[in-house]
């Protein structure tokens, strides 16, 4: 065998190696992610009837229903309104908290970081149950609000958008904290000191030095929160009950209660496309605007 032949064989082996290593995972993901998603898209074009069940013809009926019925429009509007408010509130309270955490001293910094990030690992059902307990008409929040004189009579948090927003902010705000925290770690404190020594006030330093540098962190945290809030299920389902639906609980009801799978699939596909479009679109925007920061 010639040396050229050997070298060619060796490079063929090297070329095959990554595919052999990643192969089992690729097969699984193609078989159990891509194919089921494709089947769901196809399902959304099928017909359904109370007695005939799923009719595997191709029709735009479900899509026409979603496009024309104001019931669906209202639910999708509510979903994105809630997601937008949750994102805004999470940024407004999460970013300052990350900044405060970053200025803390050694033991406290680590302890509070664990307290803020830890809840991400706790079951979302258990966390939402906590809010359901706090929200109840005799719950602690209303007792406190009435005693403090903030409100005259108990506020209806359960089955309301306010309740959903408060609980979702609690579930998702750690994503903003961690994202801003990560970009604060890359900051050079000497730049702040330079600005201070040149006579800038603490507020000016925050506004002109710190904020522009952590903006990519704030925006990427916001994108994550928005995507997760728009597709959240357990929290809206527990707080909103059957009365106040969002897109994901609507799809759930169509699937498991009405049993109209094709319509449920259409709602789910629309949610998938809308969320993916918003993530990709805003990621592009952020990357173009902050190209120099990402290098």
């Amino acid at each position: 065998m010639s040396t050229v032949e050997l070298a060619r064989r060796a490079s063929a082996v090297t070329r095959r190696t990554p595919w052999l290593l990643a192969g089992p995972a690729i097969l699984l993901f193609v078989g159990i992610v891509l194919i089921p998603i494709a089947m769901t898209v196809l399902l959304s074009f099928h017909d359904w009837g109370q007695y005939k069940g799923i009719d595997p013809i191709i029709t735009l009926k479900n899509w026409r229903d979603i496009a024309t019925d104001s019931y669906f429009f209202e639910i999708f509007l509510r979903t994105f309104r809630i997601a937008l408010l949750v994102t805004a509130i999470s940024v407004l309270i999460g970013a300052p908290e990350a900044y405060i955490l970053n200025r803390m001293r050694a033991p406290w910094r680590g302890i509070f970081l664990v307290i803020v990030l830890g809840p991400l690992l706790i079951s979302v059902v258990a966390r939402t149950l906590g809010w359901a307990l706090l929200f109840g008409s005799t719950g602690l929040i209303n007792v406190a609000l009435v005693r403090l004189g903030v409100v005259a009579s108990p506020v209806q948090f359960m089955f309301s958008e306010i309740g959903m927003i408060v609980a979702l902010v609690h579930v998702l705000v750690p994503f903003v904290v961690i994202s801003v925290w990560a970009s604060l770690q890359r900051l050079d404190p000497q730049v702040e000191n330079a600005a201070l020594s040149l006579g800038a006030s603490a507020f000016t330093v925050l506004r002109r030095i710190v904020l522009p540098q952590v903006m990519p962190g704030i925006l990427s945290g916001a994108i994550v929160v928005f995507a997760l809030a728009a597709s959240a299920f357990a929290t809206p389902a527990i707080i909103g009950g059957r009365r106040l639906k969002v897109a994901s609980t609507l799809a759930y009801d169509e699937f498991l209660n009405t049993l109209n799978w094709p319509l449920g699939a259409a709602v789910a596909v629309l949610l998938l496309v809308a969320v993916a479009a918003i993530i990709v679109g805003s990621n592009r925007l952020v990357e173009r605007r902050y190209a120099e920061v990402f290098e």
């Binding site: 990643a22 993901f29 159990i32 307990l133 925290w181 299920f233 527990i238």
Partner: protein
Amino acid sequence: MSRNGPLALAFHALFIAFILAPIVIVCAVAFTPEGYLSLPTNGLSLRWFKAIADYPEFVRAFRDSLWLAALSSTIAVLLAVPAALAIARYRFAGREAVLALFMSPLMIPPVVLGIAFLRFFTVIGLGGTFLGLVLAHIVIVTPFALRLVLAASTGLDRAVEHAAVSLGASPFTMFRRVTLPLILPGVVSGWVLAFITSFDEVTMTVFIASPATTTLPVRMFLYIQDNIDPLVTSVSAVLIFMTAILMIALDRLYGLDRLFVGAGK
């Protein structure tokens, strides 16, 4: 660096109270001696923790959840380690696409995944089976395991591996004696994160679980939809204690801040 002012500390105190409030209230109500939802103002009682044992549905769901999480995170790590090494070391055509494929379950809303799995498993005859649950959970926890193993293998010093090979080690010996020990913290943390993610998953699982094979979060979710009583708070409290222990282990092992940087992307 300047210190936080009183205003900042007051904000911080409110923020921490907001984060802890629902978790603390669940744990507090779990210790109530009363037969209804209330704070334990008349002393603490373990009666609702004892009541869990009389409710076999929760015990069975807890056991199924443990098995499901252990199986799916172990298989996910077995798939993720070679896949991460392939992505970290080789520049091959389609590398970006393969990585995007592995990370795709994080981009897809869990409701959509649940619906897709329900449809798929019903068609191929795996509907409502434990095998179906395991397959679905492998897919959703692999991105978490892969991300941590990938991070560990990207920063690896390859000179050590070259030394092993030049000293006559076979590729497998090199992997077992050199590569694996070096990436082990990433592998173990990846497994723990995958385990917790599988154990906590509710949205996707609610679609494919059946009354015979269901997980603890799904059982709790369905229970809460009907009524909220102290029993479900004591189950949640057990879950919170367990997670807290794993959380401290993960923080020591890997650092919670590093764990979540780039999470959800």
